[in-house]
Symmetry: C2
Subunit: 263 residues, 2 copies
DNA sequence: ACTCATTGTGTTCATTTGACAAAATAAGGG
DNA sequence: CCCTTATTTTGTCAAATGAACACAATGAGT
C-alpha cells in the first residue's frame, strides 16, 4: 500500500505525462463536461469530483481524442467515472465564453512545474461541450480520476462551489432536461427496474420543482399504457402497500418515438 | 471593372492571406455554421452560398476569434451575410463526427498551392457548432463571402447538394426549431411588421409540415391577446380582404417568457 | 345585382385537466 | 381480533381545451 505522499507523487507524475501527451492525443482547445444525473428514490443527484490539490469541486470531464467522434469521447468519460457501459446521454450546449477559464490558472498554480508543452496545453483557451447523462444510481461505482480524490453523488440543493462555470453548466443541463421532459425517456433511465407510483411521481416533482396532483398523475400514467403492474410491495411501510410497476419497454419507447406526452 | 480572371486572382490571394493568418486569429479546430431562416409569405427559406471554385453549395460559416465569445463570432458571421445588426439566433448543436471533413479535401484541391501554414489550417480536423437565426427576409441583402460568388435564399424543398454535413446541420436546425415552437418567438422574428392571419398560419404549417384548422388557429391566436388588429388589407386579392395584424410586442414577449403556448 | 373565393365567427361534441372526495388496503396498537 | 391510521387507488364532476364542421360577412370581378 502506498502512503499519501506516494499517491500524490504518482498523481503529479501522471498529470505531467497526461498533459505532456495531450497535444498529440487530443483536439486542441475543446473539452467535454458531463452532468451525470441519478435518482435515489428521494432526490436527483449529480456526480461530482473533488480536486486533490484544492478544495474545489468539479464535473467529470475530459478531452476529445483526435481520431474519435465527440460522442465516443463523452461515452469514455462517463464510463470511466461510473463503470457503466450502456447509458443514455445527450449533448445540450457548447460553452464558449472567452473568459471561461479565467479562474483555472488560479486553481492550477499547484502545477507550476509543468513542462512548457504541458503548460501550454493547460493554459490555452478552452471551450467545452456540455452533456447530460441519465443513469441508474444503484449500478454506479463512482471512481475519481487522475486529478481528484473524491467522486460522489451530491443532491442538487447541496452542490458546493464549483470550478469555472460548472454550476452554470449544471443549471443549463437541468433547464434543458425540463424542456424535453415530455418526450425524454427519463423514467426508464433513472428509476430502478421496479418502482412505485409515488417514486415515479416524485421523480417528476423533483425535476420540475413543483408538486403534482397524486390522483391525476396516476391515472394519466396508467392511461398511457406503458406500465406493467406487479404484485404488492413487501412490508416495511406502516401503511397500505403500493403496487410495484415496471415499464413495458416496447410500448414505452414507442410512445417516446411519437413524442407524446408525459406531463 | 475587373474581369473574371482578375477577380479569381483577387479571391485566391485573399484566401491565401486569410488562411495564412487564421492560425493567429482564430481558435484551432472549431468553426461555426449558421442556418439563417427567412419566410417570404409562402415558404421557409435558408440562406446558402455557392463556392467559386466548384458547383458546391454551403451554409454561411466561419471561425471563432481567439479573444471573443462564441456568440460574438456567430453574430459577426450572420451580420456579414445579411447586413443585419439586430437578429435572433440560437445555438442548437455541436457537430463532432471525426470524419466530417472527409470530403473537404476533395473540394479544396483547388487550393493546392497554399503555403504550408495555410494548408495545415484547412486540413486540420474541424468540429463545428450549429446556430440557427430567424430573420426578416425583406430586410436582408445577401452578400457572398471571400470564397463564394452567390448568396441567395433557397426554399427548403429545393436545397441543392451541400458540402460536408451541411444538409444534416439544416435538418437538425429544423428539428430543433419544431421542438421549441411552443415557446419560441418565431412569428415576431420571421413575419413582416404587418401580416394576415393566413400568413401567420401558413408560417406554422410550413415549419410543422402539417395543415392546421383555419378557424381554430385564428381563434387560438386571438385569444392569446398578443395581436393588434388594423384596418383592412388594400386591394389585390379578388376576394374578401383580410385584416392586417401586428404583434403587441410587450404582451408577446410576456407570453414567450412564461413559455406558453402557441401550438 | 349576382357570383365566388376567402375571411371571420359560431356551434357542437368529445376529450382532457384540475380539484377534490371516497373507497380500498395493509400495518400497528389496544 | 378489531379499530385506527396513513397511504394508495379509484371515482366524480365542473371547467377548459381541442377537433371538426357550419354559417355568415366581405369585397372584387362579372
Amino acid at each position: 500500500m502506498s502512503n499519501e505522499h506516494n499517491e500524490s507523487l504518482t498523481l503529479e507524475t501522471n498529470a505531467f505525462e497526461y498533459f505532456e501527451a495531450a497535444k498529440d492525443r487530443f483536439l486542441p482547445g475543446i473539452s467535454a463536461d458531463a452532468v451525470i444525473l441519478g435518482y435515489d428514490g428521494q432526490h436527483i443527484k449529480v456526480l461530482l469530483l473533488k480536486a486533490q490539490v484544492d478544495d474545489i469541486w468539479m464535473l467529470p470531464g475530459g478531452f476529445i481524442e483526435k481520431e474519435y467522434d465527440l460522442d465516443i469521447a463523452v461515452h469514455r468519460i462517463v464510463k470511466a467515472r461510473t463503470g457503466l457501459e450502456e447509458l443514455y446521454f445527450q449533448q445540450f450546449k457548447l460553452f464558449g465564453k472567452s473568459d471561461r477559464n479565467a479562474h483555472k490558472q488560479e486553481h492550477l498554480k499547484k502545477f507550476q512545474e509543468l513542462s512548457s508543452a504541458a503548460h501550454e496545453w493547460v493554459n490555452q483557451r478552452f471551450i467545452t461541450v456540455g452533456y447530460f447523462a441519465l443513469v441508474h444510481i444503484e449500478d454506479v461505482e463512482p471512481k475519481p480520476d487522475l486529478f481528484t480524490d473524491i467522486c460522489e453523488w451530491v443532491a442538487l440543493d447541496q452542490i458546493p462551489p464549483l470550478i469555472l462555470d460548472h454550476q452554470e453548466i449544471i443549471d443549463a443541463a437541468l433547464t434543458n432536461l425540463r424542456r424535453q421532459l415530455n418526450y425524454l425517456p427519463v423514467g426508464i433511465n433513472l428509476l430502478p427496474e421496479r418502482f412505485t407510483m409515488s417514486q415515479f411521481q416524485n421523480l417528476y416533482e423533483e425535476i420540475l420543482k413543483q408538486k403534482l396532483d397524486r390522483g391525476n398523475f396516476q391515472r394519466k400514467m396508467l392511461k398511457l399504457d406503458i406500465l406493467i403492474r406487479h404484485e404488492k410491495l413487501k412490508s416495511g411501510g406502516a401503511h397500505k402497500a403500493p403496487y410495484l410497476y415496471e415499464f413495458d419497454k416496447e410500448k414505452y419507447h414507442e410512445k417516446v418515438r411519437n413524442g407524446i406526452g408525459f406531463i
